[in-house]
């Protein structure tokens, strides 16, 4: 049983109505229809004609072909958002960054699209699309960057210093790490462990920045960074057996919230009280760090603000309000949010 509107042997392939169809139906020219439908300001049509056009358009179900409109206008009013091929939209801070982009764009006449299919079988990296601007979230493929440069499409980068963007928004991981380390040092911790990134994580400057800052802080302040800090994170229990049981760390810093949750789960399995025996702290103030028990102290990356800033700068440039003279990389502060998982080390 076929749908009435779509007979299988359709003599008339359901073709979308054109501007000319509406014009013909009303006995006016296409130009007039265009002007009426676009509510052209400096133009008034006879009410009777206007009415006829509106009705005809509705009857036919006319909708303009945006491809044609974009061609003649020379722009699409679309901002493309791109990430690395491995990137998950819901992963880590990305979701917040997107929300920030949406915040900034809300009152402007732009649409924002995120590409879901980063890696293509096809050769060309840019999609069959024309963007007026782009936002790059975390290391997109080099070919994409080349393509953007090539096509003279302005772009800003979030959380990744690549290409020749018109602006670049980063987060101050060094500063955030210092907040965390000072917090632990102030509490009296002297033996620290660091649960580094998962091996599967794509390389990111935050990995080296966080680790490097922790290492140097410990050196400068005479703290002990127990072995294992430079290995990829594999498993919560193995990590704690080494770091806490064997090397007596009293505080564990995790590269991100996911690792922290795994470590916290492992602490229960091994019977290590948190924060009694071991304090726990991680980067990324994301679900579910504030809902687990104990709630986890975190270094918060303000990803939403990063998204906002990025989109705002890009829009200013696209609207011609700003010249992309120099790329001034913005570094946003990170915050320390102290919760229940950090406390002074055990007395013994």
């Amino acid at each position: 049983m076929a749908r009435p509107s779509h007979p299988p042997n359709a003599d008339s392939p359901p073709k979308r109505p054109r501007l000319a169809d509406v014009a013909k139906m009303c006995g006016v020219s296409a130009a007039t229809v265009s002007r009426v439908l676009n509510q052209d300001a400096k133009f008034s049509a006879r009410p009777e004609v206007r009415q006829r056009i509106l009705e005809a358009a509705a009857t036919l179900g006319y909708a303009p072909d945006l491809t044609a409109r974009n061609l003649i206008r020379g722009k699409t009013q679309i901002i493309g958002v791109f990430g690395s091929p491995e990137m998950q939209v819901g992963e880590g801070i990305n979701n917040d960054a997107f929300a920030g982009i949406a915040d900034a764009v809300r009152d402007h006449d732009y649409d924002v699209f995120f590409e879901l299919t980063s890696h293509h079988a096809t050769d060309s990296s840019l999609p069959s699309w024309r963007f007026d601007g782009a936002i790059l979230v975390q290391a997109p493929p080099a070919t994409l960057i080349d393509d953007l440069d090539h096509r003279r499409i302005p772009y800003v980068t979030i959380n990744e210093p690549v290409g020749q963007p018109v602006a670049s928004i980063l987060t101050d991981d060094v500063g955030g790490t210092l907040l965390a380390m000072n917090h632990l040092a102030d509490l009296g911790h002297r033996r620290i462990a660091y649960a580094n990134a998962y091996p599967g994580y794509f390389r990111h400057y935050s990995i080296t920045e966080r680790h490097g800052t922790i290492v140097s802080f410990c050196q400068e302040h005479g703290l002990t960074l127990v072995p294992g800090h430079d290995a990829d994170f594999q498993d919560g229990e193995a990590f704690l057996k080494n770091a806490v049981e064997q090397h007596h760390a009293t505080a564990v810093i995790c590269y991100d919230h996911r690792i922290a949750i795994s470590v916290l789960g492992a602490s229960y399995r091994l019977g290590i009280p948190v924060p009694g025996t071991m304090s726990l702290l991680c980067y990324n103030d994301l679900f579910p760090v504030d809902r687990v028990y104990p709630a986890i102290t975190t270094v918060a990356v303000n990803a939403r603000e990063m998204g906002r800033r990025a989109a705002r700068v890009l829009i200013e440039i696209m609207d011609g309000q700003t010249q992309p003279d120099d790329v001034t990389p913005v570094r946003l502060d990170e915050n320390l949010i102290v919760r229940d998982s950090t406390a002074p080390p055990p007395a013994n």
Copy 2:
């Protein structure tokens, strides 16, 4: 230090090179350039000419204007993905659904874009763009659906039965709920509590389906569903005080993983052993249900497969391989994943 490529006082606004520019530079026609650059199969150019064209294009930094190409080809090869205005891309099962869409599209000549800015200040709901097809993930605004119908753009819906899609992919919440209930009943639970959705959640058919199925299962099997099951979820501790401490439920089902995490955290604060005193079970097999302690038993919605199926069907229809005769709503099975948070009720 200004960028060499972008002198601040540019007399020549950096205009993108056109096909004609390349043609002129090579002393050939635009058509020839087009054919060479598009690697037209049934066409061979003199190697010398081809070489000249390639070089000229590279020199000028030529990239085709996709808007024009799309106009003449009459299609964009783009699939748009839309969600409700409130929807977060990283929220719940969305991320998996997107991954599934990407899976399916990978080997096809389509690009997929997700709209990040659902609610516009402008009147028109569809962006200034032309899609060849669309995938709707969770109740998009009615105006969008009208627009799609209007523009004769085929679309499929995921997890939301709306509009007149060419296909519709749903999940079998009734079946999943029965798996969960039977599991608890088999373990010997007789007093069940249900932590329903947060008030902020946008309405979704799963809310009524899950709740309704639990209610009727309890009735039919003589189980007690303790009070509070029809109220919005507010707070883990308040919920447990009522459900477990006051009404002696031995098992708690949560509408989703987020609520389950809150309830689990509250169980620690209130000193209620899980699963010793109270079993815990939730929908959505998402981070971090398998990493917390105890790992949570879940009803898994296969969102990735939903995304795959949706995209696959849509592509088949867009490629003309399938006629959208009747919309046969697909209902995908849910799975029960038993972990450590469910056990027989206490003996007393």
